[in-house]
Amino acid sequence: MQKFVPISPKQVRRRRVVVFGLMIVSTLLATLKWITAIPSDSRLFTQLLMVILFMLTFAWIALFFWSSIFGFFELLRKRNVPGIHWVDENTKLSTRTAILMPVYNESPTNVFANLLAMAEDLKKTGQEKAFDIFVLSDTTNPKVWVEEEKIWLEARQLMSPNINLYYRRRAKNIARKSGNIEDFCNKWGAKYDFMIVLDADSLLSGKTMLTMAQLMEANPETGIIQAPPMCINRNSLFARIQQFAGKVYGPIVSAGLAYWQVSDSNYWGHNAIIRVKAFMECCKLPVLSGRAPFGGHILSHDFVEAALIRRGGWSAWLLPELKGSFEECPPTMIDFAIRDRRWCQGNMQHIKVLISKGLHPVSRVHFTIGIMSYLSSPIWLCFLLVGLMTALGREIFPPTYFPQSYTLFPEWPIFDKIGTIALFILSMFMLIFPKFLGLIIYLKENKAADIGGIFGAIKSVLAEIVFSALSAPIMMMFQSKFVFDIFAGIDAGWNTQNREDSGTPFKQAVERHFWHTILGIATTIIVWNYAHALFWWMLPITVGLMLSIPISMFSSRESNGIAARKHKFFVIPEEVKIPEILKEAKAYLANLQKISLDNCGVEAIVTNPQLNALHILMLPINGPAPEFSAKTLEMAQIKLENFINHKLKMELTKEEEIALLYSPQILRKACLALAI
């Protein structure tokens, strides 16, 4: 059992003062140095702009650095997050917990395989009866809807009889994931004390889920407990690099955050347990005024929910002690960027929430960090552009060494080259050093063999640093565009995340990175010809941009990821000693993949009597049918009749298919007609 570490509010305040104080002091010192390093012949406005942009960029790096340093020492001293009461693992639960899996056009086989593995793992704790599982579908694709029903039926039969596996689909997905959870709370929330919220790719060990529920029972003021998820299961090179970084650097980052957040932590939207009462009291999200992207339903609901729960007087915890929490990361740089687009919009929306009434100051810091994680890209871009423009300006308008006023000596423009190099080295140190601290902690607490041996681990860290350096300018360009798009009023929409290692085809890479490449080449030519002094400074950025297409494609390949693993690059312990729950998930996946999902949709419902009965049985729980025109249904019926009577292909539109799926009598009759 973990030990209770007491902490007073004064000590919590002191922690925050120290971390943010160090951030501010280091930023001020670096900025003072930067002021002397700016070329003295620059205009005052340019100088001011460069100072502000530098300050913002450096502060961002400094917060990450100091947070990681404190995280490192917390882990070194093996200190638990203070203020939370731990309980014996054999403590019997007297509460009920709902495990919620909200899905939106995801692969049902993967989703249900993970749920089956989690249920199997829960069974080992002997307390599985305290948990119910809900698959809350917001799926809009009719084929995936029927697949979900089919796999659910199979999974239901494979599931331990002590755990209920429920399924419901919403006809209208109002407010996306947060609306989906709200719908659950309105209908069934009163039956449960806690809910564990998952993502489609989440995997939580039974022990972790039990511990989370026990902690909620033992800490009645707690509203949310977040278990930091580790990325697993992917093989593309890009994903493997993310997985390795998460495994080795993630713990000090989490411990650092937990150090200053304590009971005012954040919620990351999944792999967390929430007290239903607190959620229902505090988390019915309003619709923000104005139109999307800033107005409308709140996209990144998790941060807001954590802030509102905190506003309601409940505590929120990030507990790095909770292991056995997994997720999958996007397999390619482009998939990562697509997800980032959605997150970026969600975080920009938080600008409206940030200064709303009654929030805890730390919640405001969470919002600021979220906003800055995207705004830092255009800030960095502006910083580079201003620097470049200044250099070009000097080329076009050379400095006046002998001004009109009479002087004995020429006025040399002052440029503190050594100071600039020192700041560059300092920035690099602050970015890279925590990675080695992460490695030290990892090697201290675990076997080096689990991450490819000491040599393998060091070369992986070095390779990750090179990859991060090359991909940083590409991500900067992506994120800058996202921010500009959002400010221009372009909405991200709601797309399903790609979770397969499919590799980026050349055409897609060119579409996405064409302008990055052009910008990289153009900058290199301009800098080489007109601002040669900047050439080597700009090279790390221009190389990344010029090579964006090959980098994106190369890193997206599964074969390259597997080859890297063979050479002991980016190995994670979950690949060497596969946790039981991962083995179970894989076994269930193999089992469920045997189920044919061909021709799912209406065709499956009318040709398979079992599925027909199941679908009709489940319709009312899905709520009232969405509106569709009589003409749509009429056209759908004609196509269905042609399929039955003349064996013609149905070729239904999505609307027609949905209309039929909400017409139980027609489906029933069609099923009979086909049996004649």
């Binding site: 119910d132 809900f134 239901r156 039969q157 209920n164 429920y166 399924y167 419901r168 709370c185 309105n186 209908k187 069934w188 929330g189 009163a190 039956k191 959620f279 229902m280 009291e281 505090c282 988390c283 019915k284 309003p286 005024s289 807001v304 509102l308 506003r311 309601g312 007087g313 409940w314 409206k352 929430v353 200064i355 709303s356 009434k357 009654g358 405001r364 009597p609 079992q610 027909n612 009965a613 009709i616 049985l617 489940m618 319709l619 009312p620 729980i621 019926q637 269905l640 009749e641 039955i644 009577n645 139980p664 027609i666 009759k669 069609a670 099923c671 009979l672 007609a673 049996a675 004649i676």
Partner: protein
């Protein structure tokens, strides 16, 4: 509505019971039984289907006497669970004659039946306000914190 290409009433009866998993061997007896009960030549397929539904619904109610599902869903549940339990292999046309399934099968069906979702327990979430900042009370908004009751 979908048009059933009906050759005869027997076609419908056979289709109905083959959808419940009954084999070709079992179908003639069932068809005879329904024909006798129905007692006329069907002019409308829907009428005949509704008649068989009523017979099967009676069975469903005997298996799930406490069910609160509407008839359409109860019938669907019966069909589903009957298929999952291979009910057709465990009974004959006798079940329709007696309006009761063999107790072993009925018990197995009750055990196999499951809820798709638990019964509703409605409760509303409390709407929250996120107030847009106004210049006049900007700092008040920023530093005033709500207290838990």
């Amino acid at each position: 509505m979908v048009t059933l290409r009906i050759q005869s009433g027997d076609d419908i009866i056979r289709a109905y019971f083959s959808n419940l998993g009954f084999s070709e061997k079992q179908l003639p007896a069932l068809t005879r039984l329904i024909d006798e009960r129905f007692g006329k030549v069907p002019t409308d397929g829907d009428e005949l289907v509704a008649f068989i539904d009523a017979q099967v619904l009676r069975l469903a109610k005997s298996v799930f006497p406490h069910s609160v599902l509407p008839d359409e869903q109860l019938l669907a549940q019966f069909r589903l669970v009957f298929l999952l339990c291979n009910g057709a292999q465990k009974c004959t046309d006798e079940v329709l004659k007696k309006h009761r399934l063999p107790e072993g099968l009925a018990e197995q069906m009750r055990k196999t039946a499951f809820e798709t979702a638990p019964g509703y327990c409605f409760s509303d979430m409390v709407p929250q306000k996120i107030e847009s900042p106004k210049p006049s009370n900007f700092f008040h908004n920023l530093f005033h914190r709500a207290k838990k009751d």
